[in-house]
Subunit: 434 residues, 2 copies
Amino acid sequence: MTQATQPKTHSTTAAFEALKCKECGAEYELKASHVCEFCFGPLEVKYDYEFLRRTVTRETIQAGPNSIWRYRPFLPVATNTPIDVGTGMTPLVQSNRLARRLGLKKLYIKNDAVNMPTLSFKDRVVSVALTRAQELGFTTVSCASTGNLANSTAAIAAHAGLDCCVFIPSDLEAGKVMGTLIYNPTVMSVHGNYDQVNRLCSEVANTHGWGFVNINLRPYYSEGSKTLGYEVAEQLGWQLPDHIVAPLASGSLFTKIYKGFQEFVEVGLVDAKPVRFSGAQAEGCSPIAKAFEEGRDFISPVKPNTIAKSIAIGNPADGVYAIDIARKTNGTITSVNDAEIIEGIKLLAETEGIFTETAGGTTIAVLKKLVEAGKIDPEEVTVVYITGNGLKTQEAVQGYVGEPFTIEPKLDSFERALERSKTLDRLEWQQVLV
Amino acid sequence: MTQATQPKTHSTTAAFEALKCKECGAEYELKASHVCEFCFGPLEVKYDYEFLRRTVTRETIQAGPNSIWRYRPFLPVATNTPIDVGTGMTPLVQSNRLARRLGLKKLYIKNDAVNMPTLSFKDRVVSVALTRAQELGFTTVSCASTGNLANSTAAIAAHAGLDCCVFIPSDLEAGKVMGTLIYNPTVMSVHGNYDQVNRLCSEVANTHGWGFVNINLRPYYSEGSKTLGYEVAEQLGWQLPDHIVAPLASGSLFTKIYKGFQEFVEVGLVDAKPVRFSGAQAEGCSPIAKAFEEGRDFISPVKPNTIAKSIAIGNPADGVYAIDIARKTNGTITSVNDAEIIEGIKLLAETEGIFTETAGGTTIAVLKKLVEAGKIDPEEVTVVYITGNGLKTQEAVQGYVGEPFTIEPKLDSFERALERSKTLDRLEWQQVLV
């Protein structure tokens, strides 16, 4: 299949200049490449901030589309017509009932469980990566995924008319597999965990001319997560929060929210202030939390064993950078067990009407743990990042939610069930709340 | 549990004046009531359009929130602080690949599969109904639902701190049941079809002091669907389309899109023009399509038997009004079978990256059928309404999508699978497209 052709208007405002090694600073052309040839450090996109300071204002951003592309000058694409399916600008919900339950005064929920089109934050990074893939001439795109990324890559590739082949571990949740297959990509289900899938994909990236969004396109791809920083700052009325809590898988999301805040300060869109960064992992796959707690500067890889499959990365590429940010911002990184994750999912649903997947349950459970440990000040403006939708991981909560009352279509059958329901303590949390 | 209290600012711009019988014109106070005491006709909300014409402009709307509440003056609530969880303003996607496949030039997809918070258009009507329920003093809300409405009512009630009891038929899809239970409402699973559930709820509404969103609150609730008309008009650059295709369950959505367009013309926000209204039903529950095709002015109720459970209403309350609109706008109403519905779901996913539920598959299949029958002009600006998300009805497509290739985490295992994939004709649709 050939690539869908659309007329591309090239931007006069692109500010990305080079790929630059995060370790040694060596610079490279803006190609599909992710590792420094000198020191094997990761490559990152470098921008002309002076140019951005002169050309971007709050007003130019607000005049843009209601999607991540309102921040296009901060993203590594040259085109003025990126792939825009409405991704981003998800609600920042001021929490009322969850905040009260936890004893916080200024809690906000950034709700990417309703991100478009595939209901996770991955739509942000994939929209950027596939736009850049088209600019670089790729006609087949691919990824190593724990599920959400495969959903997003397959869907946005379908929209853009790109060929697509995705790689997933063979033990994924049914909703994540169906949520990929429906778009009709080629799906490789690998006997192994995500880290094995990822290693295989690195080999494939070297031998086939494919654009792997999170391997050879990773420097472009990962920049998409900065929009989770930009949007929160804009939605708070062009201010930074005091504290953010986000899930950690590879650690990339965490570092890019940080970069997003820094860039907005750098170009004068918001005032500088200290923001604490706290990270959430599942106990069954918590190499970053362990290193943080033990005061280490290196990650010891682990074999994942948790229901939070979407964040189960045993050898996280950006783990050390995440630790560095948590330390220098006076944040923390900690983990919760599977039972706490399930309670986290239910707590968010019952108090805010937001149904998140296991990663979001992890983040809410860590938020609760941090509050209980006195590590979040009730007066802090705290933003918790919910990154995916619960409809994709239904098996995680099956058996842990209430049951329907089965009745006949008759008033007396209903009345009996209603009486029974009043004697049950299944509403006890709600009653505690009152 | 008591109702969450929030300071309510009462609007000085509310334009709703009375409830008015759609049949005899009798007027009533703005209470929780839905049937005319004189003629048993349905009640509808009446507005002061003169006032709206003087006070609402394109600019006042655009200065509002990025949700259905930008149209608040056209909605039947008095408060300036409605329940706003980001509902509405879903993408209107200009179709490229589906349009080409069908031979249409100006096709747009209104994508409520990513509506917030529960991924169906029901979030619109429920946001309005629960805001009004709070104004009328209800502390418990309820509904008769085919699934999506229960999801939405439970979620938004949780957010607002309202008690909630929902009624569903006992044969619903697993995703729709879990997508309700997670919010911890009381769920009554009724042995019977939707029409039996609905009758039971009418009895309960008379005996308990609950706010049933689609029974005693129905006049307010149903107005929320007008926003699907307003948004399309605004997103087309303040113009009406030439032709819309929407699913028909009770028929209410269809009539309210029509009302939304009419109101925008009435108050001078868009120019008047003819818009054709075409409706989609599943063959296994097509009482409105049958009456339309047979030229009848009345609906003969049927017993539903289709995979499209969310639109399986055998005795549709607004069916006759839908028929009237289709006739007078030179539209049509037709049905497709279950196999066509599944193909419709796959077609939309493969060409546009949008995963819809069975109702959306029905609408896409009807769109295709109308194009093939020459009933849609390729030059018409056609808007197809996608009203719900495919993650909730995964069982409908299970067995009808491709399978993953299961491989070992080794390059040679991948290469063998890739070779095999090339010999399969599973990509034949995509090849046809090129």
